[in-house]
């Protein structure tokens, strides 16, 4: 590459870097600053340096750990279900089927609706008195307490699955369609069964796409806020307290911004570790193919 090209490249990237420095760099530096201070909005004249005390405080804060655990359960549960269901649907949509395009267009719509609307929609749809689903289930003799202590987190996961499986379908379907045709023909000539092909050919070939899709979904699932906000507000007890909702509570209801910022940073670290880990796998897979 010529030096001129490199120089042009720098200039072309510069506006983006500048924008990100303003909209992300400054806020992040500020958040880092307040995470080291006892920074409460209602007592701004008492701001003082506390070092890592707020980070250390998180270690012994049971609510923080509960929220972290709930978030991880949510992320892995939701993404796991979305992956299996998404793969199933993508697989069904892969070969010609009547009304294929209509199916595809409709199945993808949930991901384009604002999550708060989805949360509120399901809050009422699953409500024991107002929702139609419990009425139907009752007609079948089934009584399910969707937002009770045992199922609340699972119900939120199901809502996430409803909204975000489409993204999985989209990505996996594209992956399937880009697969080369030859190995499949060869396998069929050799008399391999559908299941064998799926197990030994389709899934291994699709692995990079699967990993990328999982990564994209995981990053997003960590930000779950709207469903909790719209439906359970973290209850029953602390069963659905997710980390972002807890940060919101500490930061915006109690105004202890320093502590909230410290929590946000630990979350960023968790996400970052996970991303690096997944990317490692992704790149190894790419090197193999």
């Amino acid at each position: 590459m010529s030096r001129r090209d490199r120089w042009l490249g720098h200039r072309m990237v510069f506006p983006l870097i500048l924008l990100l420095l303003i909209v992300q760099g400054y806020p992040m530096a500020f958040a880092a600053y307040i995470s080291l201070h006892d920074y409460r909005l209602t007592a701004l004249n008492e701001v003082r340096w506390v070092g890592l005390a707020q980070y250390a405080g998180l270690l012994e804060n049971p609510s923080y750990w509960t929220a972290m655990r709930n978030t991880l359960i949510f992320v892995f549960g939701a993404v796991g279900l979305e992956l299996s269901l998404g793969f199933l649907l993508a697989y069904l949509l892969w070969r010609p089927v009547p009304a294929q395009n209509a199916f595809r267009a409709i199945l993808l719509t949930p991901m384009f609706v604002t999550p708060i609307a989805v949360g509120l929609m399901f809050r009422f749809l699953l409500n024991n008195q107002l929702g139609i689903i419990p009425v139907w289930l009752r007609a079948l003799g089934v009584e399910i307490d969707w937002f009770g202590p045992d199922l609340a987190l699972f119900s939120l996961i199901l809502i996430d699955v409803w909204q975000w499986t489409p993204l999985m379908v989209l990505l996996l379907l594209a992956g399937l369609e880009a697969l080369p045709a030859e190995p499949f023909e060869a396998a069929r000539v050799d008399g391999a069964s559908e299941f064998q092909i799926l197990r030994h050919l389709t899934i291994p070939l699709l692995r990079p796409v699967i990993l990328a899709a999982v990564l994209i979904r995981m990053l997003d699932a960590f930000r779950v806020f709207e469903y909790v906000y719209a439906i359970t507000r973290g209850g029953p007890g602390e069963r659905t307290e997710t980390i972002l909702f807890y940060i919101y509570r500490v930061g915006f209801l109690y105004f202890r911004l320093g502590e909230a910022a410290a929590m946000a940073f630990t979350l960023a670290v968790v996400i970052f570790v996970l991303v690096v880990f997944l990317f490692r796998i992704l790149r190894r897979q790419e090197a193999l193919t």
Binding site: M1, D5, L8, G9, H10, M12, V13, P15, L16, I17, L19, L20, V23, Q24, P27, F30, A31, I34, L92, L93, V97, P98, F103, R104, I106, L107, L108, T109, P110, F112, V113, T114, I116, A117, L120, F124, I132, V135, W162, P166, L171, A174, G175, P208, I216, R223, F225, E226, Y229, A230, L244, Y248, G251, A260, F265, A268, F272, V275, F279, L282
Partner: protein
């Protein structure tokens, strides 16, 4: 089909029907499964749409049909409340976000795709920036917006949306520029264009579908975002998700009107989604994924 083949076909007619049936049932099975999935996707939409047509008395009953439809919710939301203004706010916030993201993101994506500027590290750093928890940014934004006098304007919301949408759009465009054949711009440069001119005159037009899809995608993301919008703009400048949440007050949920708001917010993006779907995959892979 040869005569011989036809002869055989005639002779083994019963087997053929069995065969056809055996070939068909997977299709029927798949059709059935997909129909079930489609119903479970469509049902909540249908339910909320029906709720928007119900008079208040009906909203306390979990019935699906069997009520007198009324347009009173629709007329109240659209005609006697500032909902149209919130709709416009969302359009403006989305518009600003899209325009800035594309202006800033397109050259950067091109540089990443052609010159590998900053290497893989910078590319992923930009994506990593996108995944920071929004709660981290909200306080500084708040103060920033205040000091530059943008608090409670759609501008503040748009700027906050840029934190995650601009990197995503950049990431999105890398894949599309990768698809533009390099010969095109090299030819242009042989004809006397500079690289920058080639980018503007040749590459950008060639990547038009990608730019359009990235823009529309960015627009949808901004349209649906609530957390920043809730914190940064409340009153006259609120966007649709905040307006929807606003029908849920401590004096109760106005289900009828909320259903109208949800339906009104969902329909435009659902239509828009039909245009982006095809391109979404190419973009989300960001050149890392052969879509």
């Amino acid at each position: 089909m040869t005569g011989l083949a036809r002869g055989i076909a005639v002779r083994v007619m019963p087997t053929i029907t069995v065969l056809r049936w055996r070939r068909r049932w997977p299709i029927l099975f798949r059709f059935g499964m997909l129909s079930m999935a489609t119903v479970s996707v469509l049902f909540p939409f249908l339910w909320i749409f029906l709720a928007s047509l119900k008079p208040p008395v009906e909203l306390i009953r979990p019935s699906l049909l069997g009520f007198e439809p009324t347009a009173v919710n629709w007329s109240e939301v659209w005609l006697s409340s500032p909902f149209a203004r919130y709709f416009l706010n969302s359009v403006i916030a989305g518009g600003i976000t899209v325009i800035v993201s594309l202006i800033v993101g397109a050259p950067a994506a091109y540089a990443f795709s052609r010159f590998r500027t900053g290497g893989t590290g910078l590319r992923f750093l930009i994506l990593a920036a996108q995944m920071m928890p929004p709660a981290l940014f909200i306080i500084p934004f708040f103060l920033m917006a205040y000091y530059v006098g943008l608090l409670d304007t759609v501008w503040a919301v748009a700027i906050a949306h840029l934190t995650f949408i601009a990197p995503l759009v950049t990431w999105f465009l890398i894949g599309f520029f990768e698809d533009v054949p390099r010969d095109l711009e090299e030819q242009a440069m042989v004809d006397g264009c500079t690289r920058w001119q080639a980018f503007i005159r040749i590459v950008l037009p060639a990547a038009r579908p990608g730019l359009g899809a990235a823009g529309l995608f960015a627009f949808i993301m901004s349209w649906n975002e609530m957390f920043y919008a809730l914190m940064l703009a409340g009153g006259h400048s609120k966007t649709l998700p905040v307006a929807i949440a606003g029908y849920w007050t401590f004096r109760g949920v106005d289900m009828g009107k909320m259903s109208v708001a949800i339906t009104s917010a969902a329909i435009p993006v659902m239509i828009a989604s039909f245009f982006v779907q095809r391109y979404l995959v190419r973009g989300l892979g960001g050149g890392a994924l052969k879509g």
